[in-house]
Subunit: 400 residues, 2 copies
Amino acid sequence: EDLKKQYTFKSSDPYSSDPERHPVLHANSLKPFTAEPPPEILSDSYITPTAFFFKRNHLPVPQVDPDSYRLHVEGLPRGVLTLSLEELKTRFPKHTITATLQCAGNRRSEMNKAKQVKGLNWGVGAIGNATWSGAKLRDVLLAAGYGPDVAQWARHVQFEGLDKEITGSAYGASVPINKAISEEGDVLLAYEMNGEDIPADHGFPIRVVVPGVVGARSVKWLGKIVVSAEESSSHWQQKDYKGFSPGIDWDTVDYKSAPAIQELPVQSAITTPREGSVIDRSEEMLAAKGYAWSGGGREVIRVDVSLDGGKTWNVAKLKSSDKEGDQTSPPLGRAWAWKLWEITVPLPPEAQELELICKAVDNSYNTQPDTFGPIWNVRGLLGNAWHRVKVKINEDDDEE
Amino acid sequence: EDLKKQYTFKSSDPYSSDPERHPVLHANSLKPFTAEPPPEILSDSYITPTAFFFKRNHLPVPQVDPDSYRLHVEGLPRGVLTLSLEELKTRFPKHTITATLQCAGNRRSEMNKAKQVKGLNWGVGAIGNATWSGAKLRDVLLAAGYGPDVAQWARHVQFEGLDKEITGSAYGASVPINKAISEEGDVLLAYEMNGEDIPADHGFPIRVVVPGVVGARSVKWLGKIVVSAEESSSHWQQKDYKGFSPGIDWDTVDYKSAPAIQELPVQSAITTPREGSVIDRSEEMLAAKGYAWSGGGREVIRVDVSLDGGKTWNVAKLKSSDKEGDQTSPPLGRAWAWKLWEITVPLPPEAQELELICKAVDNSYNTQPDTFGPIWNVRGLLGNAWHRVKVKINEDDDEE
Ligand SMILES: [Mo]
Ligand SMILES: [Mo]
């Protein structure tokens, strides 16, 4: 009967044509679909496999026919530029970047423990690292007539998705014009993710990828680009995805008082071991892994790991790819991709429980705050306090 | 007899021609001269008066004759460009920026309390905000022959001061080429500070001002500029002014393992009241003031203030000038100047002692860490944990 009900419901359900998802993903909501992979998967490979890349849809997944798809570039004095998928692929050079995208709500579950917030209860998996290929937004804007005259008044580039609410209003966001037009900004109109057509859940056929910036601005199923003096007027730009003081609650919040989140702060997390793991004393060593990333193209230069709740610290080994010992640095200010880190340390002789902590430092020497309470905010965004994981040491494995 | 000794010593003392200093400055060392103003002075005016601007010399102040002064620009294929002070002032447009400079060691005294470090024991005053006027470094580099060919190999711009050690080696530093050549980088070859000739202690006749970057790179008494594939080989670029993990001490430190400090992390401090102040209960309100700033042109968007050691937080009022209510924002990514903040809050009814804390958030939503222990580093640099000030409430002012 339940199945029947679901079936009947489905026919009028705007989510009924959503794609299949990999069963290993942990869903935080079904409609819209939002899900993250188990944390260990994130540190298994430098590039997050597409199937395991976190999904944060805001609306039903639109079904887009690649042949009739058109991208509209508006707001420029020369009028609207309309591009087919084929034109996007052939008229502009293809660029590939490796970039990490992170949801502003990543690690909200930890902030929730400090005090309840409103939002999806993400663990540490609302982040992923992929290669993205496509046309540079800069090249398309120049082709559409962007020039010094436009630079006089243009301040933002707005993006509109093809995903729509019942009312017909689309998902939308914007980024500052500097980011969009800069050669070093590396904003792509991506048609490939990890070397294949971007799948339906990630924005087929075009997703704008804004590296170094909160995932919410990398609009999927991109339908329209508008060069403007104003930010996007969308709900997600104006009334969501902003940070507030821990002293501000839903009664006092004034969305006009804070800027829309763009660049994200420095972040890191432990992906293995998990909270509550038990380690045998006989193993003698503890191995931990995780990721570290910072917004704005800032490169992570160090990850410190503590086994004793922050009293003493060890320096983790950083990896810039899956190649053993790869510690290459991207060009300054264009470190869009995360680093994976790992560390193996002797088990402290006396301890029965360890509090593992990781914290990252970027090349502006910004660091993560110690605790969640003082960065708490009503929507539970921007959670980047130290990640803490407690593990137990099993003294006698014979007894097990 | 002491005076006599001092006099005899002076004649062979390279510091004997150092200029007079304002008596209100608190000196941390005399040779070289390093000093900071009382904290209250910092929040008295948006622009720090030149006489009260912190001084961090590394060597004796050189006496430079403005008529025979020459600036040498080297490393470019066209050969050396030599400019007199007059040429610098007349051949290039004059630009003015308001920029905060901060010593990497600001607030070291607080880090010292977590665990002893090596360095000058700065309070919160090794920071100041001034207007700087001069030629753009970019314009001078272009005039000297910088172009696309040079961009192929150039990675850094090195600066050499006219201040020299006994051995003849000069103070030196470098910044990345992107920062030096970018139109938005706003690096100046400044000949004026707060509308007057730069005084001897601040680099007369030319100081390179690198906004958004640690003070150590804003080389005073600038004698030479070298475009290079390499960073400056100076002690201060290679063996100082770098950050390390709290787990690293002088036995294990490897200076090659960390990048030279350039952009600084988000910072804030309370300038009034001071630690140990007594407030009368009858005043009913507590007024606090301070400064907040972030490196890399990131704008401070909020300062949170706590009276109870971080349990609850209030939002301070930010000031972008001395004009009442001025909350204007600089262009995105070019917020070189600090914001002053102030807050007036009711005295908590029961409390006998308050622990005031301030912490700032910049527009990348980076925040300050809670405590100094976990950002401790051997040289005591980059101290940007929450600033904490304890004050007492005097319950009965009749008894005083
Ligand atoms: Mo998000
Ligand atoms: Mo400094």
